[in-house]
Amino acid sequence: MGKYVLKKIASLALTLLAVSFVVFLLFSVIPGDPAVSKLGTQATPERVEALRKELGLNAPFIARYFKWVAGFVRGNLGQSYAYSMPVSKLIGGKLLINATLSVLAIIIVIGVSVPIGVYTAKHTGGFLDKVFTVINQIFMAFPPFLLGLILTFFFGIVLKLFSPGAYVGYERNFFGFLGYMICPAIALALPKTAMCIKLLRTNILEEAKKDYSKTSYSKGNNTTGLLYKYVLKNAIMPTITFVGMIFADMIASGIVIEQTFGIPGLGRSLLSAISVRDYPVVMAIVMLIAFGIVVVSAITDIIHAAVDPRVR
C-alpha cells in the first residue's frame, strides 16, 4: 500500500509539472499584450517597452517558465498586473469559498445517492424505482445555474428562507456563510446525484448477476446479506471513481453558480482577471484548479486501492 501511495504521489507531481507547462505555453501563445492592455491603447511604445521589461515579459520563454514554476513551488503565485499585489493575497481567501462549495456538494452527492441507489437496486421494478428513474432522467438534464435560479425562486422569493444575493462572508459569520452555501451546493449536486444514483443502481444489478453472487445465494445467504456483504463492495468502485471525476466538473460549474448566487469566489476573480488580461492571476487560478483536480483524482485512486487490493 505504501509503495502504491508513493507511486501515486510521484505521478501526481509529474502530471502537475506537465499541466503547468501546458498552461504556461497556452498563455504565451494567446494573442494580446498584457502591457498594452494595462496602459491602454494611448500608451507610447517606449512606455509599453518599459513595462514589458518591468513585468519580465521580454525574457525567453523557457526562462520565464522556470521562474514561474520555481515561484509556484515556493508558494509565490506571481504578481498581479492589474492590482500590483501578490496573486496569493488576491485569491487566497476565495479558495476557501470554492473548496467549501465543492466539499458540501460532494457530501450531498454521496449522502443522497448511495442510499437511493442501493434502495432502487434492491427494489428494481418497484414503484419508487420507477419514480426515481424518471426524476433522475430529468435532473440529469438540468444545468446547475438553472437549478440555482429555481432554488432561488422557491426558497428565496416564495418561501423567503434566505435572501437571494445577500452573500455572507465566512470571516464575518461562518455559520451564516455555510447556510448561504447550502442552496448553491444543492444546485451543483443535484444533476451529479442523479447520475450517481443511476450508475450505482446499474452496477449493483450487474454485480448481482455474477457467479459469486449466485454461489453465495445458493449457499443460503439472503438478498440483504448478499447485497451489503459482497455486492455493494464491488459495485461501489465505479461510483468512487465517478465521484472523483465529477469533482472537476463541479469546480467548472461552480464558476457559473457563483454568478447565480452572487458569491465572490474564484470564478468572479477569474472573469474579472480575464477581462483585463491579468495573466498571472488567470494562470494561478487555472493551476490551482488543476492542482485540486489532480489531488482529488489521486485520493480517489488511493481510496480505490485501499478498498480493493486488486488494483494496487
Binding site: 497556452l26 494573442p31 438540468f142 444545468p143 445555474f145 438553472l146 467548472a252 457559473v256 484548479i289
Partner: protein, 276 residues
C-alpha cells in the same frame, strides 16, 4: 427472446419532434423578428400577442427562444463535428498503432483531463474574443480528449480481432483497415460519444452565454436569456422559465435517445452472443 420495446428511445424522439415542431412554427408564424422591440410589451406576462411574454426590451420571448434554440443546436452540432473528426482520428491512430504513439497520446490526454475543458474553453473564448466561431472552435477542441479516449479503447479491442488480421493478410492498407473495416464496427460507441458530446456542448454553451462570454447580444441564446431574466426573477419569472424549459426539454430528449441507443446496442450484442 422477445425484444422489449425501447420506450426511452421513442420518448426521446418524441420530445425532439415536439421541439422540431416548435422550430417549424417559427417558420410559419413569425409576426416579430428576434430584435424587434415593442415598448408596450416590456416584461409583460404571456398573452395571445406574445405567447411567451416580452423581455426587458419588449422583444418577443417566443421568437427569441426559437432563435436561442437554433443557436444552441448550431453551435453544439458544429463543435461536436470538430470533436468527432479530431477525436476519431486521434483515437484510431492511438488505439491501432499502440506502443509509443499510444503512450504519448494518452499521457497528453491525461494531462488535459486535469484542466476542466469548459474552463479552458472559457479562458480561450474570452481572451480571443467572444464570437460564435470562437465558441464553436473552443468547444470542439475541448471535446476531443474525452472523445479520443473512448474511441481509442474500441480501436484497440477491434484491432486484435480476426477480421482485422484477415484484412491485413489480404494486403489492405492501414488507412483502409482503420476507416473502412474497423470504423463501421464501432458505430454504436461512436454514436454514443456523439450524443454525449452534443449534450455537453449544449450545457457548456449555455454556461458560457450565461456568463456573458459566449454568443454576444443581440443574437439570442438560451443561456444568455436566462442570465438576462435572472434580474427579473421576482416580477417576470416567465423570462427565465421559457428558455429554461426548452433547454431542459432538449437535454432530456437527447439523454433519453442516447440511453435508448446504448440499450439497443446491448440487446444486439447479447443477442449475438446467444446465437454463437
Amino acid at each position: 427472446m422477445k425484444r422489449k420495446k425501447n420506450i426511452q428511445l421513442y420518448i426521446g424522439l418524441g420530445i425532439l419532434a415536439v421541439l422540431g415542431v416548435f422550430l417549424v412554427l417559427g417558420l410559419i408564424y413569425h409576426p416579430y423578428t428576434s430584435t424587434q422591440m415593442d415598448a408596450g410589451a416590456k416584461l409583460t406576462a404571456p398573452t395571445l400577442k406574445h405567447w411567451f411574454g416580452g423581455d426587458k426590451m419588449g422583444r418577443d420571448i417566443f421568437t427569441r427562444v426559437q432563435e436561442g434554440l437554433k443557436t444552441s443546436l448550431f453551435i453544439s452540432f458544429l463543435a461536436t463535428a470538430i470533436g468527432t473528426v479530431g477525436g476519431t482520428i486521434i483515437g484510431a491512430l492511438s488505439g491501432y498503432y499502440g506502443k509509443l504513439l499510444d503512450d504519448s497520446i494518452m499521457r497528453i490526454i491525461d494531462v488535459l483531463f486535469a484542466i476542466p475543458s469548459i474552463l479552458l474553453a472559457l479562458v480561450f473564448v474570452s481572451l480571443s474574443g467572444s464570437s460564435m466561431m470562437n465558441v464553436i472552435l473552443a468547444l470542439g477542441i475541448a471535446v476531443i480528449p474525452s472523445f479520443a479516449k473512448m474511441i481509442r479503447t474500441e480501436f484497440k479491442e477491434q484491432s486484435k480481432l480476426e477480421y482485422v488480421q484477415a484484412a491485413k493478410l489480404m494486403g489492405a492498407s492501414d488507412l483502409r483497415i482503420l476507416f473502412v473495416h474497423i470504423l463501421p464496427n464501432i458505430m454504436p460507441t461512436l454514436l454514443n460519444c456523439v450524443f454525449i458530446s452534443i449534450n455537453n456542448c449544449i450545457l457548456a454553451e449555455a454556461g458560457l452565454s450565461y456568463l456573458g462570454i459566449g454568443v454576444q447580444p443581440p443574437t439570442a441564446s438560451l443561456g444568455g436569456m436566462i442570465a438576462e431574466g435572472q434580474g427579473y426573477l421576482r416580477m417576470a419569472p416567465f423570462y427565465v422559465i421559457f428558455p429554461g424549459v426548452i433547454m431542459v426539454f432538449l437535454l432530456v430528449g437527447l439523454g433519453l435517445i442516447s440511453d435508448g441507443n446504448a440499450q439497443t446496442f446491448v440487446v444486439r450484442r447479447s443477442a449475438k452472443k446467444d446465437t454463437k
